[in-house]
């Protein structure tokens, strides 16, 4: 049985093909304003890569899940991230997902979602925060992690709000603070924000970090410091939601 999971997020769309429970192909692309087209594109690319022309079942998830008209059903990213995280790390009890415009903390009991929290009307603890800061510093978002690793200290970013934090970062630059230290401060700001949210559910090991931001090693370390716990990262953190969706398609 071949199934597909499609995760249409706010920044990227991911598609995973599972054949008898094993990943056979996956793709991550940037989303265009037309979510339906984006979903078709990422699905088409994965089929081509796998060299097949159809699958038995498709489940869509993510912010744009309702735009994937060719999916049999939709499941929310909360359930999919939990299922996907367990696929990569069966001992996962807490999942922290830092997405493009939202972040969530999911607590897992007996293989199921027991509780979850999400950021609400504010993008301060999300990938968008990093994007805005990278652009204020004229850096690429992929570079941020490595730059933070070279910091000697972390500049305190006290504003919670992304907009205010951006002007704070610019004023730190103007007053001659080292870029590396500012970048480290930015990571700590997000980590403290996420940790505050995580404490609303019971944070139990193993803690798994998913989403594109998980590729950033400085982010992982900042979160570990905040939570006082080791954090595990799946082999492909960005496709965890899509894997979860594909697993739902199997059942």
């Amino acid at each position: 049985m071949i199934v597909a999971g499609i995760d249409v997020g706010s920044l990227t769309a991911k598609c995973v093909l599972l054949k008898d429970g094993e990943i056979v192909a996956y793709k991550v692309i940037k989303v265009s304003p037309n979510l339906e087209e984006t979903a078709e594109k990422v699905f088409g690319e994965v089929l081509r890569e796998a060299g097949i022309d159809k699958v038995d079942k498709i489940v869509a998830t993510g912010y744009g899940r309702n735009k994937v008209s060719f999916a049999e059903r939709t499941v929310t990213e909360i359930s999919c991230h939990a299922k996907g995280a367990l696929f990569f790390i069966p001992t996962a009890r807490t999942v922290i997902d830092i997405g493009g415009q939202d972040s969530k903390v999911i607590s897992i009991e007996n293989g199921k979602v027991a509780e979850f929290v999400m950021n609400d009307k504010c993008a301060a603890g999300t990938g968008r925060f990093l994007e805005v800061m990278a652009s204020a510093l004229h850096l690429k978002i992929e570079e941020l992690g490595d730059i933070a690793e070279r910091a000697e200290g972390a500049t305190k970013i006290s504003s919670t709000c992304t907009v205010f934090a951006e002007s704070e970062v610019i004023s730190h630059l103007a007053s001659g603070e080292r870029v590396e230290d500012i970048v480290a401060g930015i990571h700590e700001a997000i980590a403290s924000r996420i940790a505050a949210m995580a404490r609303r559910v019971k944070v139990k090991p193993d803690v798994v970090l998913t989403g594109g931001v998980a590729k950033n090693k400085a982010m992982k370390r900042a979160l570990e410091r905040e939570l006082g716990m080791e954090i595990k990262i799946p082999a492909e953190p960005q496709i965890v939601g899509a894997v979860g969706a594909a697993l739902f398609a199997m059942s």
């Binding site: 929310t76 999400m118 609400d120």
Partner: protein, 391 residues
């Protein structure tokens, strides 16, 4: 998806249409907060005007941002309660979906629901240049002390003096007792309607309760709620006898916390019905269901007690206890908590409450009237995930 309609809702619209018409003709009227002892007004044939009900009506008509704008242009903050903003906005606009409210003879605010009403009614008092009476009910953190009741009790007498001076009318003891008896009968009838949701499947949803709550709020103390809720109960009993639920295939039973999202009532009702989930009860409509005591020898004492121990005037332990009572009585699987941007006293402590209640819960952020703070995708994801978790 077509939602099941109650015949009672048509009757309710007639009654409330009549209520608003009555207001245009009333010689004397007082603008009053939803949790205030309206019985004193009805006992003196004073027409009560409910800016909060008017606010809900504006929300349901999806006119919140429009009327709020009139107040915001006069520098009222967007962080202010949207009922207050719309009410003040309508005064400046000179109209509303019901053609505006009649100019008040006097104003009567009771702070047992929030403290915004004090400033709100002071603003109204300045605009209309009419007298304002504030009934101050101490917040009950732990116990309802006798000194609190005494304090409110004494103010009720002062309020009667205020009413007699303002209107030139006299309060008759027998008329007040009669009104209070009707009030108790109305409240009991209403409470029986809500309790019908104990049945499985439930013959009504909290959306039916929201739609049909106006008579108990606005006409409490008259014959209308007594007759109306008796009729509504009959209709619900028939549903139960037929084994018919308000939601087809009721799989999940839920409780709603906080004021409804008026401009999305239908959207929420359909959302849950589509997913075989029934919101059988809520903390909002249940706030109007009880008289603590009805000691006929001192009705002022009874009123003081009842109106001080109101749902939004009690400490979080009491609130959690009340929610857990509802969870148990209606046998619900989870709680949907509306964090209402407008209503601070209702929304404060909700994350704490989550830890104190007996079933899982989810928090959604919205506002009762101001649709500008509602994000459909965010709300949908949280609710869907919550249902996936419960099923």
């Amino acid at each position: 998806m077509t939602l099941k309609k109650l015949k009672a809702t048509d009757r309710m619209k007639q009654i409330m249409g009549g209520y608003y018409m009555m207001g245009k003709q009333a010689e004397v009227n007082g603008w009053i907060t939803s949790g205030a002892p309206v019985e004193l007004l009805y006992a003196m044939d004073i027409y009560p005007v409910y800016p909060e009900n008017h606010g809900a009506l504006i929300g349901a008509a999806k006119q919140g941002p429009h009327f709020s704008d009139f107040a915001e242009k006069r520098e009222f903050s967007r962080d202010l309660c949207s009922y207050a903003r719309c009410d003040i906005g309508c005064v400046f606009a000179g109209t509303s979906p019901v053609g505006g409210l009649p100019k008040p003879t006097f104003l009567f605010a009771c702070n047992n629901i929030c403290n915004t009403v004090i400033k709100w009614y002071q603003v109204l008092s300045r605009i209309f240049n009419v007298p304002l009476f504030i009934l101050d009910t101490p917040f009950i953190r732990k116990d309802l002390k006798e000194s609190y009741i005494q304090y409110v009790h004494d103010q009720l007498y002062e309020f009667v003096d205020f009413l007699e001076k303002t209107t030139g009318r006299e309060l008759s003891d027998s008329k007040l007792k009669e009104t209070l008896i009707k009030s108790v009968q109305g409240v009991n009838g209403y409470s029986e309607v809500l309790k019908m949701a104990k049945n499985k499947p439930s013959p009504l949803t909290c959306f039916d309760a929201f739609l049909n709550m106006a008579p108990i709020v606005c006409l409490r103390g008259t014959d209308y709620p007594i007759e109306f809720y008796a009729e509504m109960k009959k209709e619900l009993v028939e549903r139960v006898e037929r084994g018919e639920g308000a939601v087809e295939n009721e799989e999940v039973r839920l409780l709603w916390d906080n004021i409804p999202v008026w401009y999305r009532l239908r959207w929420f009702a359909e959302f849950f019905a589509d997913r075989n989930a029934c919101l059988v009860a809520d903390t909002y409509t249940n706030a109007w269901t009880g008289f603590i005591s009805m000691d006929k020898s001192d009705v002022f004492w009874s009123m003081a007690e009842t109106y001080t121990f109101s749902y939004l005037n009690i400490g979080i332990e009491h609130t959690a206890e009340a929610i857990n009572r509802l969870i148990d009585y209606y046998d619900v699987d989870g709680v949907v908590i509306h964090s209402n941007r407008s209503c601070k006293p209702y929304s404060f402590g909700q994350y704490e409450l989550q830890k104190m209640i007996d079933v899982p819960s989810v928090v959604i952020e919205a506002d009762m009237v101001d649709s500008r703070v509602f994000s459909e995708a965010q709300v949908e994801t949280r609710l869907e995930a919550f249902l996936e978790m419960l099923k």
